[in-house]
Amino acid sequence: MTPRTIVEGSALHRRVQGANWSLWIITIAILPFLVAIPLKPSVFGNSYTIGLGNVNEAIAWAVAVLGLNLLTGFNGQLSLGNSFFVGTGAYLTGGLVQTYHWSYLSTLVVVIPVCLAIGLIVGVPALRIQGLYLALVTFGLAAVFPTIVKLDQLDRFTHGSNGLNIESKLLPADWMPIQGTLEAIRKIPLIGDWTGTDTFSSRQNEAIYAYFLLVMIAAASFLLARNLIKSRPGRALIAIRDNEIGAEVSGINLSLYKAGAFGASALLSGVAGTMLAIDKNFVSPDELGINFAIFLVVGLIVGGSANLKGSLIGGFAVIFVRQWATQTKEVPLIGWELNGPYGQMVLGILLIALMFAMPGGIAYGLTKIRSRIYRVVPADHRGEAPTG
């Protein structure tokens, strides 16, 4: 089938774009009501869950992956230590809310500058250390974070190894029409059937409220990142990644931009940490170690490096693919029954298979599939396929 050609800026193009956007907005609006009571689709005898808890976590992860993307995807500095910044954000939020009774959102006032500063501080020595050496040093940063949290001197603030339980809940205000929206959605044919018939419990209401809050923070973060990438400094970041010497001789201040990339990355990671704290009301040190850092890299690459949509996909992939891997108990077609620590094996094989299918990540894979259906071309190059 030859793909349909759509000329950029044409009426058809605008309509396709409009349809895209509407689909996005409708999905974002309806999704939490569909999965607040988790869906349990069954595939090949395996029962998988899709719940709002995971969706909320995935949104936070998407922002964390976005933070890594700025640094690694767009600027080419491989970091295996971004969990350090996420953890810093999460603990700042948790500590301020629990110990000093701030509201969740107001902690961003502290999280943003502090994480930015830490990122810049880490970014300066990183100027001299490159490539895999940088990856290894940042890996150490990730490895040491849980230990730092557990230091006795910080115990009052972090509550040490038992984790920080944040008692303050994020309660939706009375005027928020959560139940009303639910009723309205139930009237939509087909989709409405998925939402069940129960009224939501207060826990589910809280999760829905948290969802919309997280979506707004995530939207702001992605918008910020998008504008940064499209701006002059953003182009400088990419130029440095593609050819450092070339960028330097064209007058780009390497030190400034590379340290700046660390700063921006840490900032977004810190925000992601705040989002995780909002989602879980709980922060624990051992969760924010090397595993977290490694799965951020998984999210980045599986989603699609140097691609903003890739970060969103990557965040969801990390959460759901991991969960579904452990929920796979029967191997389709072969009929093996899996018990015990097979989840990791399924995950490992899935990751390898995914890289074979889409070596550039899911985002690029989807673009490729879309390009079989239609292609958007600039108005003055009618008919010629864009390359790359």
Binding site: I129, L136, I148, Q344, I352, P359
Partner: protein, 307 residues
């Protein structure tokens, strides 16, 4: 410099004990770092699965020696062959199809391998603790108070040096070594002098897996007991050793590994203000300082920019 400003334990017996510990564990980290360096030289990729290939080798050696009652040395040698073969197969089937110049998918592939092999070991042999017999006699060469040198520690140290010598000879005095160095220096030119790049890389993977298995078989008896997470926790220190020594230098890997062992056992333990639970952090900090002065590690070649 700043170390002098704080109190340092000076009991000579304790210092000797720590130095001996450091050399013992450090040579194990060095051996593992050597395996990492071989892969890095071959592909420019940090192989997350390196430790797990070694883990598989260790469990195969365990199964052969404890399960089937074979002598441990034979078990280890067979395990080295087994993992080398497996690594060669992995290279051929799931590494070679990828574009070698794009490292990101390869990172995920090795990570996937890491998860799959680790899980395979846990499922096959369970996560219960096991003990891998040492290839060396039990007991101490000498002991002074808490300081003691075990035969296995001495044996490990010597074996690692011999291993380094053998790898150096192999790389510098044999044709396959020349091919390996040529490929790691410039893939395209290597092709143009008639070197079969794929097979050479495959050889690198197999060699690295065999070295890793031997390293694990040396180190694990020093750790008393074995479980499927044992290589993950040593790998952090092996990574650090490789970075400290220089990622492309076999000699640097071994020396770097030993230095990391000494940092962890001597420096972190002796200097009062470093909490010992921060051992990883302290090691990383020292490496950071070294890299700031010498960005390609102590023995690494500062990369000639390839056009």
């Amino acid at each position: 410099m700043f170390l002098l400003a704080v109190s340092v334990d000076t009991d000579p017996e304790l210092l000797l004990a720590r130095v001996l510990d450091g050399l013992r564990f450090g040579s194990g980290y060095g051996a593992l770092a050597l395996a990492l360096v071989m892969i890095y030289k071959a592909t420019g990729v940090l192989n997350f699965a390196q430790g797990e290939l070694a883990l598989l080798g260790i469990y195969i050696a365990w199964a052969l020696s404890v399960g089937w009652g074979w002598p441990i040395i034979i078990a280890v040698i067979l395990a080295m062959f087994a993992t080398a073969t497996l690594a060669a197969g992995i290279e051929r089937t799931i590494i070679r199809p990828f574009d070698p110049s794009n490292h990101l998918p390869l990172v995920i592939v090795t990570l996937g391998l890491f998860l799959a092999i680790n899980s395979f070991v846990a499922v096959t042999w369970t996560t219960d603790l096991k003990a891998l017999p040492s290839m060396f006699p039990k007991g101490n060469v000498f002991a002074v108070g808490v300081a003691h040198l075990t035969w296995s520690g001495l044996g490990m140290f010597i074996t690692v040096l011999v291993m380094l010598g053998a790898v150096t000879l192999l790389l510098n005095r044999t044709k396959v070594g020349l091919a390996f160095r040529a490929v790691s220096s410039n893939i395209e030119s290597a092709e143009l002098v008639g070197i079969k790049v794929g097979q050479t890389l495959q050889f690198g993977w197999a060699l690295a897996a065999a070295i890793g298995t031997l390293a694990g078989a040396l180190l694990v008896p020093e750790l008393q007991v074995l479980d499927p997470n044992v290589m993950l926790s040593t790998l952090v220190f092996a990574f650090a050793g490789a970075a400290l020594g220089g990622l492309d230098s076999p000699k640097g890997a071994v020396i770097g590994g030993i230095l990391v062992g000494l940092i962890r056992n001597v420096v972190v333990q002796s200097v009062s203000f470093i909490p010992s639970e921060l051992s990883v952090g302290a090691a990383v900090f020292v490496i950071l300082l070294v890299l700031l002065v010498k960005p390609s590690g102590l023995f690494g070649s500062s990369k000639v920019v390839r056009v």
